[in-house]
Symmetry: D2
């Protein structure tokens, strides 16, 4: 990377998530700056480039090769991640890659091999680990506050399902949505998952079922250390983006509760009324994204390991594939069956 | 008192509060038993006596004189308190007296003098001191958790005003209702009040104003130790019996929040819905009454001072009289002006 | 039953639970009265009888046969329940029986057959259905507030394990402790459970494992209507008796939260501090027991069906047996495999 | 203003608050853009100008006169506000002015007269009105949810006092800090204040007293419509920036509670632990500043009245002066005595 004191980032893919990252790096983080963007939709890339005063590159290759780019943020569609990881690794650039790395384990392994060969930093964007509330739960496990961990419960519900077109290319709910919770389970437990039992069904929109996916899933995970995790997911929640994590152990419990749009309570003869849960990730998780960028930038510039490794990105995919098989076959599936 | 291991109580006045006390002593407390009751409404006394299997006495004098009575609980109308205190003191009986002792300071002093002369225990029934939440606030002050105390805020609102007939004989809202909060201020602050500034007005029912009283009051108290307390009172609250106490100091704050009828939360597209605040003292303060009886009984049987002394019963009356004068004259009134 | 306006109850078994019931019927409910008790520990029965002024019978048979007993409450050890149910049914008495009916399905069926033959009312004591918070969750499902139900989550943790002697005779955690949650799942979902997948392990005390039981379990239930329920149980919780129920559907969620010993919050430079969760069922569920008695008494005296039928008592036992087999065989078990 | 679709703002004073405003206008709001800045500390202005890519003007006059400036944001020291308001008004620019307008009522009136003569929009920066929680309280009053308003309670405590140098130029706590709460009282009540009774004292730092100020105050306000407001203020709070507002009326109450740094709860044998209250205004009120800019920009560009008028800026100063006199003279002071 350059001798410049700022880590210079090039952002590949500036759709909803990618342009959010550009904004956050430019305005909300310390130590990083965006120097260029690329998107297959050239007009979108130009608009973002103009708004933030950065270069719109003509190709991903040109951005990756640029001397003004120390690190690349891969925010393109999932099927392009591994090629871009390989290219960036070969160019010696630090890499931030959105989840999932790929929907194909062999492809994931190809990407991770290239990263290892090049010795470049790689971080997978499981942003929820950086949420202060969820992190407080993990910390209460890690620092012994909850004692010997026994059970974890994760609830994660989106406000509304994505378009069917998105569903069709998503790899299925387990690899697209539950993958965040699979990561959270490993993060909180500090232990790998050995078995997955899952139920998946349609309760929101039959079109999702017609696309071969589920919109509602419940999963039960067994960790190597004996801890059992339950996960409740749904693609639709009337009251907002339900995001909760709890851990229970021999000395206590830690519970990361939902936020609210505000904290005013109205009391009348009908009882109490309070605000909605924040609608979606932009309303709920901006601080987690900001923290993630700051920790990624600090790690890369200081030479420390990135917070979330390639192996951390791979394990939840194995769990997602195991979950899919569990539903299909109606039985618990060992992760070793997948891997 | 008798050599019996149970403190034998005679209850004078078995209306709503008195019969509650009979029930609590009989069924919910340790170390005490009710042996007799008296009420000017003889039928009411007989009904209570029959229900609890105790003696209905023909007169207060007979109850007080009975060898089966170690202590009397005075739950009659306020204007009879002092005569009964004097009679019980002269009979050498321990005394539990509902608040207020009297609406007349000279009468209070006559009662307290009789108690002092007789050397009997006297306790004034400011039950809220025994509520676990409010007590936790006081304890956080007393044990140094909040540091040097600076400000206290007390909110106390009844669900609905009492009948006008009650209002007319009540001595006014400051001596009838706010008196609980005046006591709470002294209890939490651990310091006497030197000045009262109050506003009283009608916002609930003009008939209360026609009876010469206020139904809504706000008061600001200055304590000897410099702490300032605010009190918000109202005779009507649509959402239940609003009972909150908070203390703020150099190291922190302690806040006793309202309870709810239950703790289920419903979340829909309209936001959160929760339960009402418990309706009134029977729903909110039974544990405080039970604790009060247990502590009174323990004090009397062990010879320790009662939790709330005659002087503790007198001070809030002074504050109530000062508050009334403050509203009438539109100025802060020193408690020394009353006393 | 007698023409008397009070339902006269005889209580069989006056250990911890039975004597609590005597107290509640005598002092906290309307329409019922205790006329007699029996216990194999005669001294214990006599003490309770004396305290509450009721008859201590010499045998269960004598109590059941007494003309002063309209209904019997069976609070004895589980292995005696069915014989007593049969005897009471044959005597034409209404029956309240603590859970579980029996640990043996054939025995359960023998008891239910006797009840059906006699046409007497039978109620099984799953008291948690009468908790106002949990009931608010069920009501939010039943009245459509949460819309089409999708997922249920139940958390239930005891403060500390019972003695090993109790564990040994308990039938195992699924039939002794989780059975409450199995009942709650049916109650909230309004739908039978068709499949159980469970994990059970030791994380509290190896002696429980040596006794052939688990102390910590997580279960996942599939209901006939497609709803999936997760249950987290543990025999030990440092912070009190963790009792939570939540339901999620197309229009919202309803969440019954833990209570606290009180509702004072302390804020200092170390953050907020709040009170413990109530320690155990005596601190948490007295209102549910009171409501249960009132509803049982009303049902029996009015001739309406009891709130919790014999079939309601049988179904959770099937689930408990399925859960045990699921852990043993490491696979989901259909309830039809048991039944 | 220009035909440009963006409102072009020049920011006068780019210290802590001013540079925050530049950042928010540049990055978090819609419809506005910063075109220039000025500060008496030229180096500071240049740094901000460079960071945000805007012009650093050599003088306030030059900024005000610039054709690239449609509106000025006055974020300089209080004693310069009125001259800048007059200059901006004479230049026909829309004006956003931080609170207080001035510490001198005659000066305020000179500024307001200039604004009126010029017919330019003026907004006074009482940002807390735009906090979603506090606004929900006001809305619950305005839309009738709380019914006929009776009492308001406002708590506002800073984490730590400002430097003594700041205190000395602040005009005193009532005009510097409590002024926000005076504004909030008017905002929530929708009614002017006619009388102020206040206590002010030193409980944090004697140096503040030596500077002629108080660090802790409690005030009681009477509104024209009969509502009574209490305000608790302190310059130091160990647990963060305590910001609460509540309103009580005939139909209910609305309570804007403190936020927390996060919403994780830890439960152990010591009870519950939760996070701190956000430390100060940057952690608590950014959304209110963003909302304020959006509403100011919309008002100016659409020709609608600004959300907070010059008269709204003047009234709390009268209340602050009345509060000071009330403490000095130990009596309630009518606002007509000041004005």
């Amino acid at each position: 990377m350059s001798g410049d004191s700022q880590l210079r980032l090039g952002v590949l893919g500036v759709g909803r998530i990618g342009s959010m990252h550009v904004d956050l790096i430019a305005n909300r983080t310390e130590g990083g700056t965006v120097t260029g963007v690329f998107d297959v939709h050239a007009a979108g890339a130009r608009a973002v480039a103009e708004r933030f005063g950065v270069t719109a590159f003509d190709s991903a290759e040109a951005l990756i090769a640029s001397d003004d780019v120390d690190a690349v943020a891969i925010c393109t569609s999932t099927d392009t991640h591994v090629d871009l990881i390989v290219a960036a690794a070969e160019a010696g650039k630090a890499i931030f890659c959105e989840k999932p790395i790929s929907l194909d384990l062999a492809e994931v392994d190809r990407g991770l091999a290239a990263v290892e060969a090049a010795g470049v930093p790689l971080h997978i964007g499981f942003n929820r680990r950086f949420d202060p509330g969820h992190r407080a739960v993990r910390d209460a496990v890690a620092d012994g506050t909850v004692g010997d961990l026994r059970q974890i419960a994760i609830t994660s519900r989106d406000p509304a399902p994505p378009p069917i077109g998105y569903i069709e290319r998503s790899g299925g709910i387990f690899c697209d949505m539950t993958i965040h919770d699979f990561d959270m389970a490993r993060y909180v437990a500090g232990s790998e998952v050995t078995e997955v039992f899952a139920k998946g069904w349609i309760s929101v929109d039959q079109a999702i079922g017609d696309a071969g996916d589920y919109d509602t899933v419940t999963a039960m995970l067994t960790h190597e250390n004996g801890v059992v995790t339950t996960i409740d997911n749904c693609r639709q929640s009337s009251y907002g983006y339900d995001q909760r994590v709890e851990a229970f152990g021999s000395s206590g419990a830690a519970i990361s509760e939902n936020h609210r749009d505000h904290y005013a309570l109205t009391l009348t003869a009908e009882g109490g009324r309070s605000a909605l849960v924040p609608n979606f990730f932009l309303e709920r998780y901006i601080p987690s994204y900001v923290n993630q960028w700051n920790e990624f930038i600090t790690a890369v510039t200081s030479g420390a390991p990135t917070p979330i490794s390639g192996a951390d990105g791979r394990a939840p995919l194995v769990m997602g594939l195991a979950a899919g098989r569990s539903v299909a076959e109606g039985r618990p599936v060992a992760t070793t069956e997948i891997d």
